[in-house]
């Protein structure tokens, strides 16, 4: 009698547990916050948390906290996006918690929006703030008609080069066009050095290249996406770099700002990095580089734009935030008010300013490291102004970047040239977009 009862109760218990398990079987789908009514401003004081991997961000928040007594922002350091930060943000939001504000790289913003992790800022009137921002920054936080984040810094591409070796020793100049880059890279490589060294698995470079050339890989159209990676601009870039790789004109063993890169740069064996404006701070840590380096514009095509975008972050309002209005107020201050910009530059060493017409107080003087050049005003400003404003990031940039990185690794070894890889990647990316439930088409 008793044993049967206990067996049955065990079965019942097990069955209940099983049912509970099955009930939870729908994959999690964090809040449909953008369908719910907007949250009105709070009456009393508000405390916001802000997850980011920028260093000393609390100092920036403190400037804001002291400027008024209604909103208090607490910064929490998290690991950099792909080194664990994103998984952390997304899993926390999926778990129903997480911060009010999260740092998200510009290119990742749509992917976060797709995960249901972000508040559509257009619903809180963010579009009206547009004139306060640099258009090159703002365009990267926008998908269709919606703004999904506040741009926090950007990375207009420029050429950072070892002037002493390139000009004084080899008698060359920083290449102004891609044709000149080809020539220069050839001469440098004959001298037993590398003009630049790329990590072929890093897909961010080819994307910056095609962006500059005028391609628009991901075009929102109505309710769906047009993926176009084989247009003229893209093909021009692909064929050009296929030639560079085939003739082994640049280093492909390691990327900029890796430990071996620093070692080679310090010895004058790698002469340049063509990368986002934030590279300045990293180049400054090249041992013994003081006064020897300089900055030049990104090499250009006959048509296309002056520069591309490489890196840069946004601050997004997370979908579980109870105070989107206050979060937006703080972010608008931080990213457009001169006090906010200067604080971010001073404490957090951000990339290029996202504000319209204000690059930051510390960036208006000549710099001793870069040969006394006033490089920010002379070089980076035109790079920031010459961006491809049509470019939209797709909601799967991690995978796109991985695909392009894998593809470039193959191109470097001569397996599949970039020109063919782009076409294959286009098909693959459309496939993936459909798999994650989106409406997508290949161009033409």
């Amino acid at each position: 009698m008793k044993p049967r009862l206990s067996r049955r109760s065990a079965l019942v218990g097990g069955g209940a547990a099983l049912t509970a398990g099955l009930a939870a079987c729908a994959p999690p789908n964090p809040g449909e916050v953008n369908a719910a009514p907007t949250i009105p401003p709070a009456d009393g004081k508000v405390r916001l948390t802000y997850w980011a991997w920028l260093k000393d961000l609390q100092n920036v928040c403190d400037v804001f906290n002291q400027s008024q007594d209604r909103i208090q922002v607490d910064a929490v350091w998290i690991p950099g996006g792909n080194t664990g930060g994103y998984a952390k943000i997304l899993s926390a939001i999926a778990a129903g918690g997480g911060p009010d504000i999260a740092q998200v790289e510009l290119r990742q913003v749509p992917e976060f929006a797709l995960a249901g992790a972000l508040v559509d800022l257009t619903r809180y009137g963010f579009a009206e703030q547009e004139p306060k921002f640099d258009p090159g920054a703002m365009s990267q936080a926008k998908v269709g008609d919606s703004y999904w984040a506040v741009p926090q810094d950007t990375g207009p591409v420029a050429t950072f080069y070892n002037r002493e070796v390139l000009e004084d020793e080899l008698g060359l100049e920083a290449p102004a066009t891609w044709d000149e880059f080809y020539e220069t890279a050839g001469i440098v490589s004959e001298a037993g050095k590398s003009l630049i060294s790329l990590d072929p698995s890093d897909g961010s470079h080819p994307i910056a290249w095609v962006m500059q050339a005028g391609a628009n890989w991901f075009r929102p159209e109505g309710d769906g996406w047009i993926v176009d990676m084989v247009g003229d601009a893209s093909m021009q870039v692909a064929e050009y770099w296929d030639r560079i790789f085939a003739e082994k004109l640049v280093g492909v063993g390691y990327g900029s700002f890796t430990t071996p890169w620093y070692a080679a740069a310090a010895e004058g064996n790698v002469l340049a990095s063509i990368s986002g404006s934030w590279s300045d701070a990293l180049v400054k840590t090249v041992p013994g580089g003081e006064g020897k380096w300089a900055v030049a514009p990104m090499p250009t095509w006959p048509d296309g734009y002056a520069s591309g975008g490489h890196g840069g972050s946004a601050a997004a309002v997370a979908s579980n935030s109870q105070h989107p209005v206050e979060a937006l107020e703080f972010l608008t201050w931080m990213c457009t008010d001169p006090a906010g910009i200067d604080a971010m530059i001073e404490h957090s060493g951000i990339g290029w300013s996202p504000a319209a017409d204000y690059i930051g107080e510390p960036r208006q003087q000549p710099d001793e490291f870069f040969s006394g050049q006033n490089y920010n005003e002379e070089v980076i400003v035109p790079m920031a102004e010459g961006q491809n404003l049509e470019w939209t990031w797709a909601p799967l940039m991690q995978r796109v970047q991985a695909i392009i990185g894998d593809g470039m690794t193959g191109a470097v070894t001569g397996d599949v040239p970039l020109a063919d890889m782009f076409a294959e990647a286009q098909t693959e990316i459309v496939d993936i977009m459909r798999t994650i439930g989106l409406n997508a088409e290949e161009a033409r």
Partner: protein, 309 residues
């Protein structure tokens, strides 16, 4: 399982193990000294391999960031700032490192003790009672041993997030309380080391069933307990994926995740090299001592564990 015959011999095997030392001594007598030198030299070279990373961290925890890159990694740099470095490790970020250490101890300590108790109770029940469903439970748990823990981590996260306990101590602690491997060890050991007659005698004396387990069986199971405890402690201490998936708040991190967090920052901020190196030193030293001290117990316990197949 094939080893039922060997398991019955467990106590006998132990008796034999005790006599092996004298046996080794007698064999040693007839050996040529050159062989001894060659073998010892070979083992010493291999020992170097196992010690190099530990040696590196001891040396390099004393250096400044500049020396770390500028001087040979195999010898001290120009500056000796071990204590400054360790001070920086302990005070960084408002003393987060000691907190990670305490968290690790909490997860591994509480987790392994409770897991050992639960696994032993269950293993003992499977070994000493005949009841319907016993075989089913066995097979179910065997499946659990063979499925990789990391494959379960993701669905476990979704389960925990649906009941709202992700990013809490519980989210790491609860899964650590289960040791299917421990259950097997305990049940195999219990069937050999806890005689039925003893339990019967206890029953006649009026000891309750739970009392039988706690007062009569548990003392007999101590060697198995030690093995399960150590095994589970190391498994939790080493775990990376589970806390990585579950925890968002740095203050809940175990030491592994925390150090990884610091290391991730070396890319942008070279000063984190020193913190990571110092932190690694601080976490390696106590473990090394623990391992050296506990090695004896470990061996004793595993003698039993390994026979079980």
């Amino acid at each position: 399982m094939t080893t039922t015959d060997t398991t019955k011999n467990a106590p006998a095997a132990r008796r034999r193990a005790a006599s092996t030392d004298s046996r080794a001594g007698s064999r040693d007598a007839g050996r040529k000294p050159t062989t001894t030198i060659i073998v010892t030299a070979l083992l010493a070279i291999i020992a170097l391999y196992f010690l190099v990373p530990v040696y590196w961290v001891v040396i390099n925890a004393t250096k400044s960031t500049e020396d770390l890159f500028g001087t040979s990694g195999f010898w001290f740099g120009e500056s000796f700032q071990l204590f400054e470095n360790l001070g920086a490790v302990l005070s960084a970020n408002g003393g987060i490192f000691p907190r990670w250490g305490v968290n690790s101890l909490l997860y591994a300590g509480v987790g392994s003790v409770v897991a050992t108790y639960f696994a032993t109770a269950a293993g003992y029940a499977l070994a000493k009672y005949r009841f319907p469903g016993r075989r089913f439970v066995y097979v179910l748990v065997l499946g659990g041993v063979l499925v990789p823990g990391t494959a379960v981590a993701l669905p476990l996260f979704f389960l925990f997030s649906s009941i709202g306990i992700t990013n809490t101590y519980w989210s790491v602690l609860i899964p650590s309380l289960v040791s299917p491997f421990g259950l097997f060890l305990a049940s195999i050991y219990a069937s050999a080391a806890v005689p039925d007659e003893m339990l019967e005698a206890g029953r006649i004396d009026g000891v309750g069933e739970l009392g039988l387990f706690h007062r009569l069986a548990l003392p007999q199971l101590v060697p198995a307990l030690v093995t399960i405890l150590l095994f589970q402690f190391v498994a939790i201490w080493n775990n990376y994926m589970l806390p990585l998936v579950m925890l968002a708040d740095e203050r809940l991190y175990p030491i592994t995740l925390g150090l990884d967090n610091w290391r991730a920052q070396t890319d942008r901020l070279p000063e984190f090299y020193q913190l990571t190196t110092g932190g690694a030193l601080l976490s390696v030293i106590p473990l090394a001592i623990l391992i050296l001290v506990l090695q004896r117990f470990w061996r004793g316990g595993l003698t039993e564990g390994s026979v079980k197949g």
